[in-house]
Assembly symmetry: C2
Homo-oligomer: 335 residues x 2
């Protein structure tokens, strides 16, 4: 490996001058700069960033802990974060938790002495219980995509999930629906359900716990199974609110298999606006969440904290979702 000393010797200067040239400092005379650059080129010198990191204490690397990437929802977030990091010359150290709190804790401790410049955490499901650990990490930390009550001691960039649920509910209320069923991943998506409840309360409909069906893991399969339960009820609902598009996809499939037309016989509304939602059959009415914006804001929060050498202020930033009307929702059938 060719080191700074090698370059220095070749150029007839000291290590220090080479260092100045490499880092683009302006204190070097054009003459020596040229000599040094020639030496660098001839020797094919590449600075050892590890040594630089040890000396400076910064690694130009940000850790990102995320539940999964095999989910269109989070993969967008990962890509946006990576984009922001790349723009500012940072690297991305990625760790996934896969619904496993223990795995999450392992990642956390193994990253903690890895000399990251900052850490971003998406999703409260697996790391929600480890917030105290996060707070004592001694480096800038931010959270995003936080469904449950956000911790007050850390900065959080997330979506107003209560509003997301409310918008889904209000949309169906406005269409005239009064007999809803909710299919959701409880308790994870409790806040979304509260929003739905508020919307129906505004038109005098009580959305009781008996009208909430569980779809564990928020998978299409879970949605499919729950949809069958919904059909078995004595009085068929006129619409289904799901806590995620993935669930909605499974629900729609179940209805189709049982000869129910969506939206003529029953409306289905999702939350998330995953890419498939637009291509679903029928295209899914859903509540779009500003994922890219969220990811970008969170990443920039951290990078700015690094740049300014200041701790990140523990603010809560709530981004607004928006209803996206497609073809899976319509007024209830007359009966």
């Amino acid at each position: 490996m060719v080191t700074m000393d090698d370059v220095a010797r070749r150029a007839g200067v000291t290590k220090q001058t080479v260092s100045n040239v490499v880092r683009g400092r302006t204190v070097v005379s054009p003459d020596t700069r040229a000599k040094v650059e020639a030496a660098i080129a001839e020797l094919g010198y590449q600075p050892n960033l590890l040594a630089r990191s040890l000396a400076t204490g910064t690694t130009m690397t940000v850790g990102f802990i995320v539940p999964t990437v095999a989910n269109p929802f989070y993969s967008v977030v990962v890509e946006e974060v990576e984009t922001v990091l790349e723009e500012r010359g940072y690297h991305l150290l990625l760790a996934t938790t896969r619904g496993d709190g223990e795995r999450a804790r392992r990642h956390l401790t193994s990253l903690s002495n890895r000399s990251l410049d900052a850490l971003l955490v998406a999703g409260d499901r697996d790391l929600g219980e480890h917030v105290p650990l996060l707070e004592r990490l001694g480096l800038p930390v931010a959270l995003c995509m936080w469904d449950s009550e956000p911790p007050s001691a850390l900065p959080v960039v997330t979506v107003d999930f209560e509003k997301a649920g409310y918008l889904a509910g209000r949309h169906l209320c406005q269409l005239g629906h009064r007999r809803p069923v909710v299919i959701a991943d409880v308790p994870a998506h409790r806040v979304r359900i509260e929003g739905m409840r508020r919307a129906f309360a505004e038109v005098g409909v009580t959305l009781g716990d008996e009208a909430v069906l569980s779809a564990p893991g928020a998978t299409p399969e879970a949605g499919y199974a729950a949809a069958l339960l919904a059909l078995a009820a004595p009085e068929r609902p006129t619409c289904v609110l799901t806590s995620t598009d993935a669930i909605a996809l499974g629900v729609t499939e179940a209805f189709r298999h049982h000869g129910l037309r969506v939206p003529e016989d029953i409306s289905v509304v999702g939350i998330d606006d995953i890419p498939q939602a637009a291509h679903a059959h029928p295209p899914l009415t859903t509540v779009g969440l500003p994922m890219r914006r969220m990811a970008r804001d969170a990443a920039e929060l951290l990078l700015n904290a690094i740049r300014d050498k200041q701790p990140v202020p523990p603010d809560l930033s709530l981004l607004s979702p928006a209803i996206i009307r497609r073809e899976s929702s319509a007024p209830p059938a007359q009966n």
Copy 2:
């Protein structure tokens, strides 16, 4: 920050002994080990891995350059790689190229002096032209998911794409189809098309270039557009072979919008077996690729090379795909 020296002083030993304890070496007497461990606990000492890396020359970090994670196909690969790395105590530094060769090159150079222990590259689209750079990286490198001709100087773990195309073609031939159209992302998926061609050649059908429609980017949208062209042809094909499931999804949607039933009026077969394929409407017949296996093999290849301190032998490993019969393919309609 509390260092080894602090611990050493507190325990009344030298740095070296602390180091031995930390790394679990057995040369330490139970007595001193206990003293040192007490000191570590009292001070809350955490080893600085950066310093260790500088001294040892290993970082326990593997780089992974991947086209995108916002694709069910690659996200599975990323997760499997991460799983293997975590099993063996390694970290994952992730970089995405997003169909941008220039971005790929930037990532490559920026990772090259980042002191990774190894580098894995998935997908030839963006990095195919930078193989010479990869070869001169001076660290274990492996390629996976290589559609085009694999370079001979590097180890490659990929799928037999020719066979994948062949299996798709043979399946349709066996059903009795003799009037096929291919919708593919050319030239990227040229090899898959060759396999399809071989299958039809076996039953005496020539699959000419005029029967190959282009779906740039392999998106559902591109598939949709190409499908419309296919319908405009004077003689309607009885089946469509697509080079990816994503394309197939768009194709199926186009047919549905134009009143064609799949598979009664026309069969559609994909390649990839993405998660949505099973939930598509109708469930998509496709060729499954052993993505997890591929990812695992490639990652283990690298980790073993690191462990054995040997260069990775430049072998080519071709994994076999398999046809997955679902409901989008059937014998051609009688006419």
